[in-house]
Structures are given as C-alpha cells and as structure tokens.
C-alpha cells in the first residue's frame, strides 16, 4: 500500500474545454478518499487519469513517489472497479478474478489460494464456476471487487461502483465495502455523486466542481465548515438554507437585518462580521441548526406560519416561506407541527456560516 500524489493535474478536451484543472491532491497510505461532485465535475476524468486510461494534458501523478504520468495502466500497480463492473462475459468468475494473476505468471496453487481468499472476503465463493450472465447485479459487482482486490495494488480506484445497484443493496454494499477496506487497508480513491455514500465511507471527501477541487476534508469538515456556498448547498439533505442579510450599524451595535427579522451577531459571529458593516452577506443555516418552538421564547428570532411539514419518522421537516424562498427546518419528531400553525424560530448561533454574495466564498475571521 502506498501514497498517491497529484500535482497540477489537468485535462483539456479539444482546445478550450477543461475536464479537470489543476488538481492537487495527496492521498495518504491506507486512506479512503472520495471524489464527490455533480455529474460533469471532472471526478471521473481525474480517476481515469490516475488509472492511465485518459491522457494527461498537464501535471504529474506520483504513486509512492514514482512518476507514473506516462506509464500504461498495467505498469501503475493500480486496480479499478468500474461503474458497469466490466466483468468479462466470456470468462467464468474464477477466470475473471484469476486474470490479473495469470498475467503476473503466478503458479496455479498461488492463484487458487488468492482467488479463494478474495472470494471469501467478497462472499462469492459459491459462484466461482459460473459465467457473469448467470449472476445478479450485486454479485457481478462483488466479482469486480474481488478482481480488483486480488492484485493487492498500491492504489485502489473505484468509479461509482455502487450506482448501478438498487437502493437497498447499495446501502448494504456500502457497509461491506467499508469493512473490506478496514481489513485490506488499501489506499483507495472512490468516485461518487451520492453524498450519503461519500459521507458514510470516506476518510476524506474531495468535493469537485467544474474540473477543480472546491474543498477537501473529513465528513464533518465539509458538512459543518463549508468553504463556499456550492459545498454548503451540495452537501446535506435538505441543503443549507441561504438567507440574504444586510449588516446595519445602529448605536455602535451590529445588526443582521432582513425583511422579516433582525438580530445581533454575538461572540464569534461578531468577530467575523465586524468588518462588513453596511454590506450584504449571505447567511447559511443548516436545517437542523434552526429550532422550532410552539411558544415564543427568548431564543426565538422570528415567527412564521408553517407552509407544509414532511414527517420522516425520526424527525420532521418543517417548511416556511421567507422572502419568497422556502426555508426548511429539521425538527425533532415531537411535538407535531401542523401546516398553518404559527411557530417561533431560533438559530444555533455558533453554527451559522456567512458567505460573500459576490465570490460565494466563506467569510472567515480576519
């Protein structure tokens, strides 16, 4: 197992279209990295460049400090799980898994031993003699996984491997793959557009947009400490609510004001915003960082009529209308809130995030 380092990695299609631009990334030994982003953001392009299936326009790829930028895929000591599994239909499951080992000219006992090991790990030992067409989607996915595991590569690449499975199986495979990673300790790069998948599996998440990395960090980092409005809006269901606020200074006090309410930023928030008086900022509030009260309380900032509620069992989502904008709040399941009811709403002030409306970047303490 080893490290992977990307330096200014770029890919240009045609003359002007950049599939990926200046990707700088360092993947540590045994780390599980997830590339996350909407479709067309360049995550698959990046992965294919790491695999050697896509030519690199600029930049360098290091695997364990060795420059592999121009090596063919088979010389890079990597393995890959494809979105479509890419299990060879004319070979049995055993032959599929043994394929890379045979090319390495291992003797047949060794091959058998290693195939058995990985098929135990991926729970396909009963299907070794079958052809892929006789397997279900989930089983084929396991075969692809076993084939990737059996070579014991330095870097393990997975290109949306779970996206072709049905929802229930996907959740199950997610747990299993995490367990397998824990056992094999393989350095892994995992591409997905499913944030739930990314958050539950990753050691670190790399969020990409338009061919560049926007933010990278642990699940908590990208969730609670978003770098910009794109990340805040992309991560989390329901996504972050964005409220446009004006900072006004009155009697030496800072006030965040919008058409419905105003409140005074205190403590940390004051430190962040003190240089922005008389300017417009965007306030990002996570749905669960808002509180819903049935009675007016000290913490509540404003009152509003409930538009709709979405009961979810473990919690309920309360939607209100604010400045022609739907704001969603995640509230505890009880007490039940009914549409049309007037509720009082407060914020967890230390969870608020402020963004510059022009650059969409986070406003941090000076």
């Amino acid at each position: 197992m080893a490290t992977l380092k990307l330096k200014n990695l770029s890919k240009r299609y045609g003359k002007t279209v950049w599939g990926a631009k200046d990707i700088n990334l360092e993947v540590h030994d045994k780390e599980f990295i997830v590339l996350l982003g909407p479709s067309g953001c360049g995550k698959t392009t990046t992965m294919r460049m790491i695999a050697g299936l896509e030519e690199v326009t600029q930049g360098i790829i290091y695997i364990e400090d060795k420059d592999v930028t121009f090596l063919p895929p088979r010389r890079r000591d990597i393995s890959m799980v494809f979105q479509s599994y890419a299990v060879w239909p004319h070979l049995t499951v055993f032959d599929n898994i043994a394929f890379p080992l045979r090319l390495k000219k291992l003797n047949s006992n060794e091959i058998e031993k290693r195939v058995k090991e990985v098929s135990d790990l991926t729970k396909i030992e009963e299907y070794l003699e079958r052809f892929p067409r006789q397997l279900s989607g989930g089983q084929r996915q396991r075969v692809a996984l076993a084939r990737a595991l059996v070579v014991q590569p330095k870097v393990f690449l997975m290109d949306e491997p779970l996206s072709n499975l049905d929802a229930k199986l996907r959740v199950k495979m997610r747990t299993e793959m995490k367990a397998i990673h824990k056992k094999t300790q393989a350095t892994t790069v995992f591409v997905t557009h499913d944030q739930a998948e990314a958050m539950s599996m990753a050691d670190r998440i790399v969020i990409m947009k338009d061919g560049s990395i926007v933010q990278m960090g642990t699940t908590d980092d990208v969730y609670f400490d978003c770098e910009d409005m794109f990340v805040a809006g992309f991560i989390g269901t329901p996504p972050t609510n964005f409220l446009t606020m004006e900072l006004q200074e009155k009697n030496g006090k800072l006030l965040l004001v919008n058409s419905a309410f105003s409140f005074e930023p205190l403590g940390e928030n004051y430190e962040i915003l003190k240089n922005y008086s008389n300017k417009i900022v965007v306030m990002g509030v996570r749905p669960e960082s808002m509180q819903v009260f049935k009675e007016k309380k000290l913490e509540s900032v404003f009152s509003r009529e409930v538009l709709v509620t979405e009961p979810q069992g473990s919690h309920q989502i309360v939607a209100i209308e604010l400045d022609d904008q739907i704001v969603k709040i995640v509230a505890p399941p009880f007490p039940k809130v009914d549409p049309g009811e007037i509720v009082h709403i407060g914020f967890e002030h230390d969870r608020l995030m402020f963004f510059n409306p022009e650059t969409e970047k986070r406003i941090r303490k000076a």
Partner: protein, 437 residues
C-alpha cells in the same frame, strides 16, 4: 351473447392459425422444394431425367429386361420406367461391350459384360425350353397386332366419312350408321389390345429375363468433372478466391468497423455511409474497367484479382456488421483488461475479439458465400482460369444441355458454402448471453 362471442373468437383463432400454417407450408414449398428437386435431379441418370413426368423420388436401382430379337442374333434390352410403369426399349444389338457401355452412360448402372452374358445364357435357355409356346404366342400376337392395324384403318376411314356427312340434311341415317360402326371398331380395338397385353404378360417370363442393378448415385458428379474443362482446378481457384475475399474483408473491414465503433472523428457518418456507396454499382457495370485496372496490376485472370474486386463490396458489409458488434461490446471491458495487465492490443485480442467472434463469423460467411457463387463478374474477369461458377454456367449454356449434369454441378457449387457455414456455425451461434454487463 358471451357464448357467441367465445365462438366468434375461436373461429377467428382457427382462421388465423390456418393462415399461419398455410404460410409456413408455402415457405417450405418455395424454399425446400426447389432444393430437393435440384438434389434429386443431380442423382438421376440420363434416362430418368428425360423420362417425363420426371419421378421426384430418389431411386437406387434400375430394373432391366433382356430378350432375343426373333430372326436375328441380336438382343433387345429394356429398362423399367417409373413414370410410364412399363419397360421401354433402350438398345438392340449383338455386341456385349458396346451395350454395356451404353447402359452405363444412359442409366448410371454399371451393367458388366459378365452380367449381360449371364443374362443372355439364361434367356437363351429359357427360349429353347419354351420355343413352341413362344412361337405360338408370338404368332398370335402378330396376328392380333395386324388386326389392330386394320381396325385402326377402319376407324380412320369412318372418322373421315363422318366428318363429310356430319351436319348435312337427309344424311342422318348414314351418319347414325357411321357412328355405330365407329363405336364398334373402337370397342373391338380395346378388347384386342387387352388380349395382346395378356398374351405379352404370358410371353414375357417365357422369352426374357429381368435383372436389377444398383445405380451409381454419384455418376453425374464424376461425369461432370470428366466432361467439363478443368473443373477441379476451377473448384480450387474458387475456394482460393472465397478465402482470399474473407481474409481481406475481415482484416480491413473488421479494423475499420472497430474504428467506427470506438472513435469519434469528423465526417464519421458520411464515411460510414460512403462505404455502402460502392455497393450501389452493379458488379457487372464496373467489371470492364476492372479488367483494365487488374490487367495493369498484373492480377487479371488470377484468383487474387477476383477477390480484390469482390472485397470492395464485402468490406462495406463487414464494416457495418462489425461496427455494430464492436459498439455492443462496452469499452470498459477493454479498459479493465488494460488496468489488469494487458496492453492495448492484448486487450483487443483477448477480450474484444472473442466477444466479437459471432459477428466476425457472420460477416465471414457473407463474404464467403458472396464471392464463392458470384458468376457475372467472374465471367468477365477471367479467361483461361475460370472459377467454378463459370464452369457450371458454361455447362448450362453449352450445346449438351444435360439437365442432370447441370444439377450435379449446381449441387457441387452449393456444397462448399454449406460446408463453410456448418463449420463456423458454432461461432455464429456462440453468444455469451448477449455481451451485456
């Protein structure tokens, strides 16, 4: 009401099914009957092929009858005709070796001289023991035959008179009389000829012996190769042409098919369509220019020249077949092979090629059949080294016009194509459950 509905439905279903089966039968008749006809004619002897109506069933032996001709030292040999259901005379003669050869050519039966001699000895013995009976019977028969002759004359006379008298007034009585006469003559003739038949059937076992000889089924094929000008070299040339064409079409067509399937480039669709453009010219139309071009290349009248011409059309077809096959094979399969240790070419050879085999086999079959049976261009593009279809064609238009020989040539021409298809059928049918992943 519902009962009525049900009945109507059933009737409808019955009609539908009837039409369906009629259609199936029609298809079978249209496709299988001509093939069967061709096959059975190719196994027929000369005598059988011209024995109208030609019996369609295959026969494996012929029945011969030999009898001495009275007053000479010659013998008459007859063969049983299946369509007329009686013996018909074939040859009369005294030279055993000539007769044997004649029979072999005419009936495809190897009637050896010993066999003929044996039969002659037998029939002579028979003749001697029954000579009296035979004499009396033949006398009877000849007198009966004379009777028929005179009856025939009477009948003709009566008919002529009748045609004169008919329709005239005041001649009704004469006409009546003539009609009655005619009827009488005819009934008499019938009874006499019946008598002759009876006598003959008594006579036959007394003055003749019959014997059966197995037919040489493949005699026509042997004859075909003997009589046609260098047909075996022509066959070899044809196979050469077909295999060359398959090779050229598959390598060039297959590679371009792969390129069309895998790469995006400018003018791809136009180029792909334009490959079909060459197929729009009838082969015979471009044959003359081709003669000049091939002659300049030094390929005129050579198998390789012919296969070059055939390849042009076949490449287009192969491109279309293989492009769609390669498109059906996900590129990820190749990429996976590259990741797991194959080179690009290795991935193509070990992953894509086995998966594309059915399509390649199908286009190989098309190319083989298309170039194997092509006649029109081959006639123009060859001179001293014709291909097999040309030889068959020449036999057909030749002065001999022996139907059974042509049929034998036709079947021989069909055989390699059928064989080739049977050989590669495994690959055509070989589907890995559809190349789905």
């Amino acid at each position: 009401m519902s009962h009525k509905d049900l009945k109507a439905k059933q009737t409808k279903k019955l009609i539908g099914r009837t039409i369906f089966y009629l259609f199936i039968v029609f298809i079978i008749m249209v496709i299988l009957l001509p093939i069967y006809f061709l096959l059975s004619i190719s196994f027929m002897s000369d005598q059988e092929a011209y024995d109208w109506p030609v019996p369609l069933g295959l026969s494996f032996r012929s029945e011969f009858k030999i009898e001495p001709v009275l007053g000479t030292s010659e013998y008459l040999i007859s063969v049983y005709s299946r369509s007329q259901e009686e013996y018909i005379s074939l040859i009369q003669g005294s030279k055993i070796d000539q007769m044997s050869e004649f029979l072999r050519n005419k009936t495809n039966c190897n009637v050896s001289e010993e066999k003929l001699n044996e039969a002659i000895v037998e029939v002579n013995a028979l003749y001697e023991t029954n000579s009296e009976k035979i004499d009396s019977l033949t006398e009877d028969i000849s007198s009966l035959e004379k009777k028929i002759l005179s009856l025939n004359q009477n009948i003709i006379k009566a008919k002529r008179n009748l045609s004169i008298v008919e329709g005239r007034e005041s001649m009704e009585a004469v006409e009546e009389q003539l009609r009655a006469d005619l009827k009488e003559y005819e009934s008499e003739k019938q009874s006499v000829s019946l008598e002759i038949k009876e006598k003959k059937s008594v006579l036959t076992p007394l003055n003749s012996t019959s014997f059966q000889v197995f037919k040489n089924l493949f005699a026509n094929y042997v004859t075909f190769f003997k009589v046609t000008r260098d047909s075996i070299p022509a066959l070899m040339r044809s196979i050469q042409v077909a295999l060359f064409t398959v090779f050229i079409a598959l390598t060039i067509g297959g590679m371009s098919g792969y390129a069309f399937a895998r790469y995006a480039f400018k003018g791809k669709n136009v180029l792909k369509l334009s490959t079909l453009f060459v197929r729009m010219f009838p082969g015979i139309a471009i044959a003359m220019p081709m003669v000049i071009i091939l002659a300049e290349m030094g390929f005129y009248d050579k198998p390789i020249g012919l296969s070059l011409v055939y390849s042009v059309g076949q490449i287009a077809l192969t491109i279309w077949i293989t492009a769609s096959i390669f498109m059906g094979i996900p590129v990820e399969l190749e990429e996976a092979a590259q990741v797991f240790g194959r080179t690009r070419v290795g991935a193509f050879i070990h992953i894509t090629l086995p998966l594309a085999l059915p399509g390649l086999a199908a286009s190989a079959m098309y190319a083989f059949i298309g170039s194997w049976a092509e006649t029109a261009q081959a006639i123009v593009l060859t001179q001293f080294n014709p291909t097999f279809p040309v030889v068959v064609y020449q036999t057909m238009v030749g002065a001999k016009g022996m139907v059974n020989l042509i049929a034998a040539g036709g079947v021989t021409m069909a055989l390699p194509a059928v064989l080739f298809t049977i050989l590669i059928r495994k690959y055509i049918l070989q589907m890995w459950g559809g190349v789905k992943v």
